[in-house]
Every structure is written in structure tokens, then in C-alpha cells.
């Protein structure tokens, strides 16, 4: 599948990554917004735990951790298309993609991966630091991000996060491909965004959905973006279950990579027909 040598893919990754790191000011504003939104979700959820009846399989502290992790790694969600692609479509430069001596799909994959990780890195670190350590200092411990359950949990969590990056990049690349196919050049993310938000666990943690839905929610691909890694983090999924979760992530990733690769040939053909 891949061309011999990862040189060009690493190059495009590095280029896009560095470019994204320049958007520091926007990142700062974004972080403030995220504290706010995360905070509101945490407060509302706390109210349910405190004042509501019923029961949940995750504790309040775990739910809060889930939410802050979600905010920290928000950049990894496949919810918008690379603006570069839209510009390339408009100007016709997209035809040049075919001229590069690389597998176009993996070229776009590397690009998407760079974009997602760069966007995340800027925000994740301050958010993680503040919501865990600083919150405890200033007495907001009830709302803080808890440390991972154990060393094993942490290790598995990191593995799972790698899978998240790959899964998200595969989905993002599919979205980028859709830009080529839609007339308005917006891609299908207009629709997929709402799906991504709710099915990944960003709106409310998936374990808080009705019990009858749990299996369905776990098996669908988007759970691997948020739900699986964070539950591994606080060992709601542990041991064999955790491994199975990661396997699920990998399975969906391979599926979407395959799908994307298949689409790419036809996509490039379409671009050539349209004249770029």
C-alpha cells in the first residue's frame, strides 16, 4: 500500500504541524472558551448526580474526568475539514496533488494527522494541567480531573490515544475527500458533526445513556474517539476489556483507511475530469 520510504509523508506532517503551531493566539482564546463550556457541563452534570435519583455505572468524579479529558483532546475530533482542501478545490490546485510521487491517500492521511495533533497539542496541555492540578490548589477539587486509575490504566490509555489519532485521521481524510465530491465544497461534515458529537460521548458520556443502548454505543466507530480511551483511563474498561476496546478502535481505523484508499482513486479521477 505505501510507497517505499516515509520521507515525503513525514515532511508534509512536519510542515502542517509547524504551521498549526503558529495559531497560538487563537488557541488561547479557544482554551478560555473550553474552560467555560467544560465548566458548564461539569456543573450541570454535578447537579444531576447530587439532586437526581437513579444510578450510573460511572461515578461523578469519573464523569467529570471524562468531560475534562474530552475538552482537552477536543482537537482530535473529526468535525471539520481541512480548509486547505477547500481552497485547493476552489483554485484548482488540487490537481497538483496527483503530480506528487506519493500515494495520495496516505499523503492526505499524514496531512490530516498533523492537523489534528497540532491543534490538540496547543490546547491539551494547559487544559490538562489546570483542570487537574490547579483546580485542586484553588479548592475546586470536586470538579477536577482525576489522575488515571493505575500505571496499567495509564499505559493502556496512551495506547488507546494513539489509536484515537489514527482513527480520527482516517475519518478526517474521509471528510476531506467528501469536499471534493460535494458541490458547495463544504463536505459532508455539516451532517457528520452532530453524529460525531453525540456518538463519541462529547455531549454526555456514553455510559450515561440508557442501559439498553450501551452495547450499540460501544460497538459503533465513534465510541473509539472519546468513550473508549477515557473509560480505559479510569479503568471502567480494564484488562481484557480495555484490550478489546483498543482492538475495536483499530478495527474501525483499518476499515476507514481501506474505504478512504478505495475512494481516493475515484476521487482523483473525478478531479482530473473536472479539470481540477
Amino acid at each position: 500500500m505505501r510507497d517505499a520510504g516515509t520521507g515525503p509523508y513525514r515532511a508534509i506532517f512536519a510542515a502542517r504541524f509547524l504551521m498549526m503551531l503558529q495559531y497560538r493566539a487563537a488557541a488561547l482564546a479557544g482554551i478560555a472558551t473550553q474552560f467555560w463550556f467544560g465548566g458548564i457541563m461539569v456543573m450541570a452534570l454535578s447537579a444531576f448526580y447530587t439532586e437526581g435519583g437513579g444510578s450510573a455505572s460511572i461515578t461523578r468524579a469519573e464523569a467529570i474526568t471524562y468531560i475534562w479529558l474530552g475538552q482537552a483532546f477536543l482537537g482530535l475530533l473529526p468535525w471539520n475539514v481541512d480548509p486547505e482542501i477547500a481552497v485547493m478545490m476552489r483554485t484548482g490546485n488540487v490537481a497538483y496533488e496527483r503530480l506528487r510521487p506519493v500515494d495520495t491517500y496516505f499523503y492526505w492521511f499524514a496531512r490530516a494527522m498533523a492537523w489534528r495533533t497540532a491543534a490538540t497539542l496547543l490546547r491539551a496541555i494547559p487544559l490538562l494541567l489546570v483542570t487537574s492540578v490547579v483546580f485542586d490548589w484553588v479548592g475546586l477539587g470536586a470538579w477536577s480531573l482525576q489522575p488515571p486509575q493505575s500505571g496499567t490504566a495509564l499505559a493502556l490509555f496512551l495506547l488507546s490515544m494513539v489509536a484515537v489519532v489514527l482513527l480520527s485521521s482516517a475519518l478526517t481524510t474521509l471528510l476531506n475527500i467528501s469536499v471534493v465530491w460535494t458541490i458547495s465544497g463544504q463536505g459532508i461534515n455539516v451532517f457528520t458533526n452532530s453524529l460525531v458529537l453525540i456518538l463519541s460521548g462529547m455531549v454526555i458520556p456514553l455510559p450515561l445513556f440508557p442501559d439498553w443502548a450501551h452495547l450499540m454505543l460501544l460497538l459503533q466507530p465513534l465510541a473509539g474517539l472519546v468513550d473508549i480511551p477515557y473509560r480505559i483511563y479510569f479503568a471502567h474498561l480494564s484488562g481484557a476489556e480495555a484490550i478489546a476496546g483498543i482492538a475495536l478502535q483499530i478495527f474501525w481505523t483499518m476499515l476507514f483507511i481501506g474505504l478512504g484508499h478505495l475512494c481516493m482513486t475515484r476521487t482523483m479521477r473525478r478531479i482530473q475530469i473536472q479539470g481540477g
Binding site: 493566539a25 482564546a29 478560555a32 472558551t33 467555560w36 463550556f37 458548564i40 457541563m41 456543573m43 450541570a44 452534570l45 447537579a47 444531576f48 448526580y49 439532586e51 437526581g52 435519583g53 437513579g54 444510578s55 450510573a56 458541490i183 458547495s184 463544504q186 455539516v190 451532517f191 458533526n193 452532530s194 453524529l195 458529537l197 453525540i198 455531549v203 454526555i204 450515561l208 445513556f209 440508557p210
Partner: protein, 267 residues
């Protein structure tokens, strides 16, 4: 032609322009409907699990949710001129052209564009409101209807006030400060629940500094006909939407100051 008539003209012109791209508009509207309704789905799921939120039921929360979403959607539809004010009017000097017309500049900015796509959130809000009304056992009379309309109107004025304030900043700094987004979108996210569930300092901020609760909480409590858990007297529940208008008026005063500054420093 008076201000209202002129606004109608602006709106027609903007709609006409957008209807040139019908597919795009329909898709975006549907997309927004979906993006917003997932929030309510989340809330419904939480109620399904936790059964209640203190004294509040799902139908009651739906009333709060629907009202604030409708108010914000309307404000969002008409406020694009203020959203892009800094980059598209101040930075480019296009604001000069607005000053050369014998009309108040806020009116002209309101007329800049009518974002039809925000109908997605509006429809979603109406749907949830309908669910609330059908599930609540309320005597729905004149007072309740008036309160609902007042809450929505006050809410529109309030959210507009926020956007106007953010745009006013552009008179002083070229940096686009998107802080107000935390208050508009954040405000909706917070007020979709009854504000009573939050901590003291949060509620007080959203009552005395930014009067969100006056348009999104108190009037709805009035409609529900219950005693306010926070202890606000009955008459206040009915008068509170006015504070949305007061807030907007203050924002417009700040705007005038900004205009004056623009005129004395040039661009």
C-alpha cells in the same frame, strides 16, 4: 420609510441573495438542526437515567431549553453584521460608508445579512418548546403567553446586546476578541437548564452582571406557576424580561461612544 420598514427591505434583499444557493441553505439548516438537537437528546438521556434534576422534571427543563434556544436563534439570525464588524467594516474602512447614510448605524448593521441557516436552531427550539407545552400540565392563558413572548423578546434583546458589545470593542482594538462567544454560546449552554441548579456565584454573575437569568430563568418560572426556589417575588418574575432591553440599551450607548471615538481618530 421607517426603521422597521427599512429592516424588512434589508431582510428581503438578504433572503433573495441566499435563495440563489438553495441546496446549500437547506443542507446547512438541516445540519444546524441536528447539531443543536443532540444537546436536547443528551438532556433527555440524562433524565432517563437520573429521573429528576432536583425539583425539575424533563418537561420543565424543556421549557427553559426551548425558550432560550429560540431567543438565541433569532438574535443569531440578525446579528451577522455585528459579528463581522471588526474585520469587514472597521479594518476596511467600510464603516465610513455606513456613516454616510442618513440612518443609525446599528440598524444598517442589523440589515447586513439575515442568516437563514440559523432557522435550524430555531426550529429545534420550537420543537422542544412544543414538547414541553404538551407534556406540562399548565393552564395556558393570556398571562402565560405574554410571559413567553416577553421572555423570547427579552432574550433576543439580551443576546443582541452581547453581540453589540463585542462589536463595540472593535472600535478600540484591531484584535478580534471572541470573548463574547463564551457568553452567547456559553449562555445558551448554561441557560438550557434552569439557572437555579448552578452555584451562587455563577447565578449572580448571570443575573447582575450579564442579565441572562432575567430573560431565560425568571420568566419561565413565572410561566410554570411555581414558587421560585431562589425566592424571587412574583412581580419580579413578570418584569424581569425588561432587563434584557435595558442591557441592549446600555450596549447601544457603548456603541455610540465607540462611534464617537471612530469619528475622532479616523480609521
Amino acid at each position: 420609510m421607517g426603521a422597521l420598514g427599512l429592516y424588512g427591505r434589508y431582510a428581503m434583499a438578504s433572503i433573495k441573495g441566499q435563495l440563489n444557493y438553495p441546496a446549500s441553505f437547506v443542507l446547512l439548516t438541516i445540519g444546524q438542526f441536528l447539531s443543536t438537537i443532540v444537546e436536547f437528546i443528551g438532556i433527555a438521556a440524562l433524565f432517563s437515567r437520573f429521573q429528576s434534576l432536583g425539583e425539575w422534571t424533563l418537561a420543565q427543563v424543556a421549557l427553559f431549553y426551548g425558550t432560550v434556544n429560540i431567543a438565541f436563534a433569532v438574535a443569531d439570525m440578525i446579528s451577522r453584521g455585528f459579528d463581522v464588524f471588526g474585520p469587514l467594516f472597521v479594518k476596511t474602512g467600510e464603516f465610513d460608508r455606513l456613516l454616510l447614510r442618513p440612518r443609525a448605524t446599528p440598524l444598517q448593521l442589523l440589515g447586513y445579512e439575515l442568516r437563514l441557516m440559523r432557522l435550524g436552531r430555531l426550529l429545534q427550539g420550537v420543537l422542544v418548546l412544543a414538547i414541553a407545552v404538551s407534556r406540562l400540565d399548565l393552564a395556558w392563558g393570556l398571562a402565560e403567553t405574554a410571559l413567553l413572548l416577553a421572555a423570547v423578546a427579552g432574550g433576543v434583546a439580551f443576546f443582541l446586546g452581547l453581540v453589540v458589545l463585542q462589536a463595540t470593542l472593535a472600535f478600540w482594538t484591531v484584535e478580534s476578541l471572541e470573548v463574547a462567544n463564551t457568553l452567547t454560546y456559553g449562555g445558551v449552554a448554561a441557560a438550557q437548564y434552569p439557572l437555579e441548579i448552578y452555584h451562587n456565584w455563577f447565578r449572580q454573575f448571570f443575573t447582575f452582571v450579564v442579565p441572562l437569568s432575567c430573560v431565560a430563568y425568571f420568566p419561565i418560572v413565572g410561566i410554570l406557576g411555581i414558587d421560585d426556589p431562589l425566592g424571587a417575588p412574583r412581580w419580579f418574575l413578570y418584569l424581569s424580561p425588561l432587563f434584557g432591553f435595558v442591557f441592549l440599551a446600555m450596549a447601544l450607548i457603548a456603541w455610540r461612544l465607540g462611534e464617537r471615538r471612530y469619528a475622532s481618530t479616523g480609521s
